[in-house]
């Protein structure tokens, strides 16, 4: 199966991806992000087992796809539309990790971070729904008109801010995703559809989920340039996303990137992958671990050494401990908030319901 997936990978690329030279400093930064995300992700599973959070959707195996893509986007101009498995994107983008994890602690559905200030939309359970939001936001950038971008930036930001929508091979079955791709192409919206094809939609493998060979193959039908990329290769993902961003930001319309990854863990902490796949299958299909792979590459190139790697691990452990402490310290939300955010202009009727809730709950 790996071979078949890789064959698709080698034939479907249509947008040219220029080689991108990353500085050693950038490479070390990317590795630190990978290590941090790996640790936070594994820790979150442990926190669930320890009863600190009720549930979590692990992303082990997708770190390179998430970090590499987010790293290529512009934090001042762009906007990210995630689903619920985007911890690595959020961390690379700078979203507060305690506020992000709060959604998994069941504090608040969309998390406690400010999605507008962080330019990272609320965590989304209906995985096709947000793909259209990205198209709408992107079309809004076109309506706003071209940006005044300075010409002395090392990497030109282009005419428009770009929306990037993250979703998976499972979500690509939803009608909204197809409507989104069609709308985006019709309107030439500056949007990147970033598909993490991780091989599984809970228990259903990609070949029972995606007709037409690949998600990228479908997008070609909407007249949209596509890039299939090895999602375990962080620098390849970074280069692909940078090329897509340049294309979209210059007003040439949307791009679809299909990052071929593998969900090494369960769908969620409630899932039991042993019911639908074996360890042998996991080993044969997952490919090389994206974090180990980058460590080996950077070591071979002399960019990092054992001391750096040990420090990176130590930094990740420190951050993990800070986030853990922050998550534990999160108290329950005040009940009043249940009513506070339903409307921008609350109705008298809802205010009355809030008042009667207060009266009846404060009574005891």
């Amino acid at each position: 199966m790996t071979q078949a997936r890789n064959e698709r990978l080698s034939t479907a690329s249509t947008l040219e991806v220029p080689a991108l030279a990353l500085s050693s400093e950038q490479q070390r930064e990317l590795y630190q992000l990978l290590e941090t995300v790996r640790h936070l992700d594994l820790s979150a599973i442990a926190w669930q087992r320890q009863g600190i959070i009720p549930g979590y959707a692990p992303e082990r195996g997708q770190e390179a796809a998430q970090v590499g893509s987010a790293y290529a986007m512009n934090r001042e101009l762009d906007f990210i539309f995630p689903t619920y498995r985007e911890l690595g994107v959020a961390r690379a983008w700078g979203v507060d990790m305690v506020a992000y994890m709060s959604t998994h602690k069941a504090s608040w559905h969309g998390g406690l971070y400010d999605p507008v200030a962080s330019r990272f939309a609320p965590i989304q359970a209906v995985v096709g729904g947000s793909v259209l939001h990205a198209v709408g936001w992107a079309h809004g950038q076109t309506l706003n008109g071209p940006l005044n971008t300075s010409t002395d930036e090392p990497q030109p930001s282009g005419k428009y801010g770009v929306a990037i929508s993250y979703f998976g091979d499972g979500a690509s079955s939803q009608g909204d995703v197809h409507e989104a791709m069609n709308f985006a192409s019709v309107f030439k919206a500056p949007v990147i559809f970033f598909v993490q094809n991780n091989g599984w939609a809970i228990s259903v493998p990609t070949d029972r989920q995606v007709a037409g060979g690949s998600v990228a193959a479908r997008a070609a039908g909407y007249g949209m340039p596509t890039i299939q990329v090895d999602g375990n290769d962080i620098e390849a993902v970074y280069a692909a996303t940078s090329a897509a961003r340049t294309h979209a930001a210059s007003g040439q319309g949307p791009v679809l990137i299909e990052a071929m990854t593998y969900r090494r863990g369960p769908h969620s902490t409630s899932d039991d992958p042993g019911r639908y796949r074996s360890l042998d299958e996991e080993r044969s299909e997952a490919g090389q671990d994206p974090v180990d792979r980058y460590a080996e590459k950077l070591q071979a190139a002399g960019v990092v050494d054992q001391t750096f790697l040990a420090n990176a691990l130590s930094n990740a452990q420190d951050e993990e401990e800070q986030v853990r402490a922050g998550v534990i310290a999160l108290g329950s939300r005040p009940g009043q908030e249940m009513f506070d955010f339903v409307y921008a202009e609350p109705t008298a009727e809802l205010k009355a319901q809030a008042a009667s809730w207060r009266e009846e709950s404060e009574h005891v």
């Binding site: 969309g110 992107a138 079309h139 809004g140």
Partner: protein
């Protein structure tokens, strides 16, 4: 100076959209055929010519796409006024309406309000094909985060649409199709009070509570009942979410009898909600149980059967008769 013109609801809605586009450069109109055609009911007639194809634009034929795109536009700072061409075409977009538009302000802790005004030609009366004639107000009113309104005449249509287009929350704007071409006086300078319900006609013997196209029918019923000396008060609910219980209750406190009229099916319809609120507010003063005259628990039927389904004058008169002749046990 008041400025009164006699226009159809279709023209009133068109003027309200033009005024809204003029007043706020962030207002956009999008949907199927809303551009050069001006919409199948011509509600957006001439707007693209006046405001350009960036402000008023046609989309591909995909209702979920239209509504989902509107979410993103709202996040980008715009106030989209999407149109779904017919009420029944909103069903493919229900995911966006309920799980996205209705929840985004909540999910984002108030940082992503959804100022979206969804216009929907609604209800029956045109003998149109299937899915072109629906009555989905109870479903929408049930959804937290949405506001739902339906105008009954051109004056209400003009001012309520302008109000909705200036509100920071999502408003489901249900236009009564059979009233599109009825002309009436509109005072464009005087909106009056647009909050809650309004008393469309005063009476003292029974309250008829209705909204949308049924208001005109209830006013017709009131005329006929008056010939028999029965003075019917007609309450135009206007807002279906939130429901103005106070105005309804005040009317029923006066008349002590109530009949709720709507086209939607009986079961779990708004009539049950309104009857319950009347019972809570007026239990001691009611002279009879609250009656409901509604559609039936069947799909909105074909044109040939529509008149059998939609509450007609006779059925509403029977409803009034039932509350007027009700006798308590042992009384």
């Amino acid at each position: 100076m008041s400025e009164i013109t006699t226009i159809s609801m279709q023209k009133a809605l068109n003027l309200a959209l033009a005024d809204s586009l003029r007043a706020d450069p962030k207002v956009l109109i999008l949907g199927e055929d809303v551009g050069t055609l001006g919409g199948v009911f011509r509600i957006t007639d001439g707007l693209q010519a006046e405001f350009g194809s960036q402000r008023v634009f046609d989309t591909p034929l995909a209702e979920s796409g239209i509504l989902g795109m509107s979410v993103g536009l709202a996040l980008a700072g715009y106030h989209p006024i999407p149109e779904v061409q017919f009420d029944g075409f909103a069903y493919p977009a229900v995911n966006q309406i309920i799980s996205q538009i209705g929840r985004m302000n909540y999910r984002s802790r108030g940082t992503m309000p959804m100022p979206i005004t969804l216009r929907m030609p609604s209800f029956g009366g045109l003998r149109a094909p299937e899915m072109h004639t629906e009555s989905l107000e109870a479903m929408l009113a049930h959804v937290p985060g949405l506001k739902v309104v339906s105008p009954a005449d051109p004056q209400q249509a003009y001012h309520l649409l302008k109000l909705a287009a200036s509100m920071p929350d999502p408003v489901m704007f249900l236009e009564p199709k059979p009233r599109y071409w009825q002309k009436a006086e509109v005072d464009v300078t005087n909106p009056g009070n647009l909050q809650g319900a309004r008393i469309a006609r005063e009476g003292k013997h029974v309250s008829l509570i209705a909204y949308g196209a049924m208001v005109a029918r209830c006013l017709q019923v009131a005329e006929l009942a008056a010939e028999d000396g029965i003075e019917v008060e007609v309450v135009d609910l206007r807002w279906l979410k939130p429901i103005d219980t106070a105005t309804v209750a005040a009317s029923v406190a006066k008349t002590r009898r109530a009949v709720v009229v709507h086209e939607a099916p009986l079961t779990a319809g708004l009539g049950g909600e309104i009857a319950s609120r009347i019972t809570e507010a007026c239990f001691d003063t009611l002279k009879a149980p609250v009656e409901r005259v509604t559609g039936f628990d069947v799909p909105y039927p074909s044109g040939d059967l529509e008149d059998e389904y939609v509450p007609n004058v006779d059925r509403i008169l029977f409803g009034i008769q039932r509350v007027l002749t009700y006798k308590r046990l042992g009384a």
